[in-house]
């Protein structure tokens, strides 16, 4: 897709786990906005527009953009909301910069844990005609997907456990104060998913500042993560219409993003990746759909460690969703983590010499929404 202006990420604030009741939700959004402005070295006066993403059911507040109007600087400013997914807010913000009508965009997504039950809140996403009467929350949809995949891939359990071990080790290094050891209850709540294969929901906020090439040049910035390619797609809402052991929407999103970025062989092109691993089974599915490892190679991954922290392509150096799970904004956090890797600002889990990074964000029932973003360290070669 030809962009009028090259968009890039100039600021990131990731708050992947917020404890305590010292700040209200609106105050947390204010905190994240102040943090991302500071990271980018600009003020709210430099922000031309805002895109926010949250879930009304989790917020307990209809039209949850209202929570953001004051706290993220939306008063008297252009502000839109994408309730479908945090990563969709990023796509919209990036396109608004790319079209040349905005110099900058602030993107904010959040996910509180104030509802009495996140699973019950998720059931409202099911249609009231045929699915509302089923015990269908996102975790159950992930379990249905794992069942379908297990029937197609022998020995899948061991491969999934290896992914889980990798991500938990990464998470312990990246966020040692935030990642907790999984509860050892031993009782699965959504068979066939093992008891410890999903992280419990936590409160989180993430904010990203996007800017166009002219703005970046004016500011004299050298730590921009340029968007080299984007792709986003959606699968049918009725799970019975899908082969849950396949991820065609992700294949298509990857095809779009790679085509824009000029990538033929992703394994040879990117130095780091973040993948939405609501379950380790989904990370495996993403390996295949992203062209990183077909299912025939999954069994070997625990031995060759190619996606480990010291492997040829580290995946989820942040620890991923199986370590920290602020449910609604986990997709945007994957994008923020890769942007920071490319900017050289990922902190404890920074990989040296990252020139190009890959972010995959999925959300909804059994990975219904799929988004792929490729970031470049150098402006040259990025989508234009």
């Amino acid at each position: 897709m030809p962009y009028v202006v090259k968009p890039g990420v100039i600021g990131v604030a990731i708050m992947p786990r917020i404890e305590g009741d010292g700040r209200s939700l609106e105050e947390l959004l204010y905190d994240a906005t102040q943090a991302v402005l500071k990271d980018a070295g600009i003020t709210i006066e430099d922000v031309d527009g805002i895109v926010v993403a949250s879930n009304d059911q989790y917020d307990g507040r209809a039209i949850s953009i209202m929570a953001a109007s004051g706290s993220v600087g939306g008063v008297d400013r252009d502000i839109l909301s994408t309730p479908s997914a945090g990563e969709h807010a990023f796509v919209l913000g990036a396109l608004r910069v790319a079209c040349g009508q905005y110099r900058t965009q602030l993107v904010v997504s959040w996910s509180p844990t104030e509802a009495s039950s996140i699973p019950e809140a998720q059931r409202l996403a099911a249609d009231p005609y045929f699915h509302r009467r089923l015990p269908m929350d996102e975790q159950a949809s992930h379990a249905l997907q794992a069942s379908a995949l297990m029937a197609q891939v022998p020995g899948l359990d061991a491969a999934a456990q290896a992914v889980l071990r990798k991500n938990r080790a990464n998470g312990g290094r990246a966020y040692p104060d935030l990642v907790q050891a999984p509860a050892q209850s031993g009782k699965p709540t959504r068979w066939p998913l093992p008891a410890d294969s999903m992280a419990p929901p936590v409160t989180g906020v993430v904010a990203i500042l996007l800017a166009g090439e002219d703005f970046v040049r004016e500011q004299g910035r050298t730590d921009t993560a340029w968007i080299a390619g984007m792709g986003w797609t959606t699968e049918p809402a009725f799970l019975g219409d899908r082969d849950l052991g396949e991820a065609p929407a992700l294949r298509e999103a990857a095809r779009q993003a790679y085509a824009e970025a000029g990538i033929d062989s992703p394994l040879d092109s990117v130095q780091v990746a973040e993948i939405s691993d609501a379950t380790p089974f989904q990370e495996l599915m993403a390996y295949e759909a992203l062209g990183l490892a077909p299912r025939g190679e999954w069994a070997a991954l625990s031995e060759d460690n190619r996606f480990g922290a010291n492997g040829s392509l580290p995946v989820n150096l942040s620890g991923g969703v199986t370590c920290l799970n602020p449910v609604f904004c986990t997709g945007l956090i994957r994008i923020a983590e890769v942007a920071n890797q490319v900017r050289g600002r990922a902190g404890r889990h920074q990989k040296a010499g990252v020139k190009r990074g890959l972010a995959q964000a999925s959300s909804g029932m059994a990975m219904q929404y799929q988004t792929v973003i490729v970031f470049d360290r150098e402006e040259k070669g990025a989508a234009a």
């Binding site: 009741d21 010292g22 307990g60 699973p119 019950e120 059931r123 009231p128 005609y129 045929f130 699915h131 009467r133 089923l134 015990p135 269908m136 929350d137 159950a140 379990a143 249905l144 997907q145 069942s147 379908a148 029937a151 009782k187 699965p188 709540t189 959504r190 068979w191 066939p192 049918p236 009725f238 799970l239 019975g240 219409d241 849950l244």
Partner: protein
């Protein structure tokens, strides 16, 4: 300092219109214990549960097609968490491709002891043939039917 919280519970009742297609489906289910799908004339696919249009061709669906009561399991899960407005857990549920259908319908599995999930999952293995069972007293709802493995 003392930090306060405010607890709120909202109880709003929604009355959703099901539309002609879902209404006809549930009336057949309620009055005749039969499950029907609807055909996408362009692709020939029989959509179950029925929809008034195909989200692939965006054409209105045409004729009704009776499907089942036999079928095979496409996927399943056993859920041990309690949900509002549902019977007590554990629940075995999933998707079944009923004979004559091209898409799978969600429903509960019964007739399987769920005490040991590993043993239960053997009986609910993907590809297993099932029969659709119907409640004696039906109200026009997804809970009016469920699936049981043919082999028992």
């Amino acid at each position: 300092m003392e930090l306060l919280k405010r607890k709120e519970a909202w109880n709003i009742t929604y009355t959703h219109a099901l539309g002609e297609t879902a209404s006809w489906f549930y009336v057949q289910l309620r009055d005749h214990a039969k499950i029907y799908g609807k055909r996408d004339a362009k692709t020939g696919r029989v959509l179950v549960p029925p929809r008034s249009f195909s989200d692939q061709s965006l054409q209105p669906t045409t004729d009704w097609v009776e499907v089942g009561p036999g079928g095979r399991i496409e996927t399943f899960s056993i859920v041990y968490e309690e949900f509002q407005n549902l019977p007590p857990p554990p629940y075995a549920f999933g998707y079944v491709l009923l004979d004559g259908a091209d898409t799978a319908i969600g429903g509960f599995f019964k007739g399987v002891d769920l005490t040991d999930p590993k043993a239960a999952s053997e009986k609910l293995k993907i590809g297993t043939r099932i029969n659709t069972k119907f409640a004696e007293k039906r109200v026009g709802d997804v809970l009016d039917f469920w699936f049981e493995p043919e082999a028992g």
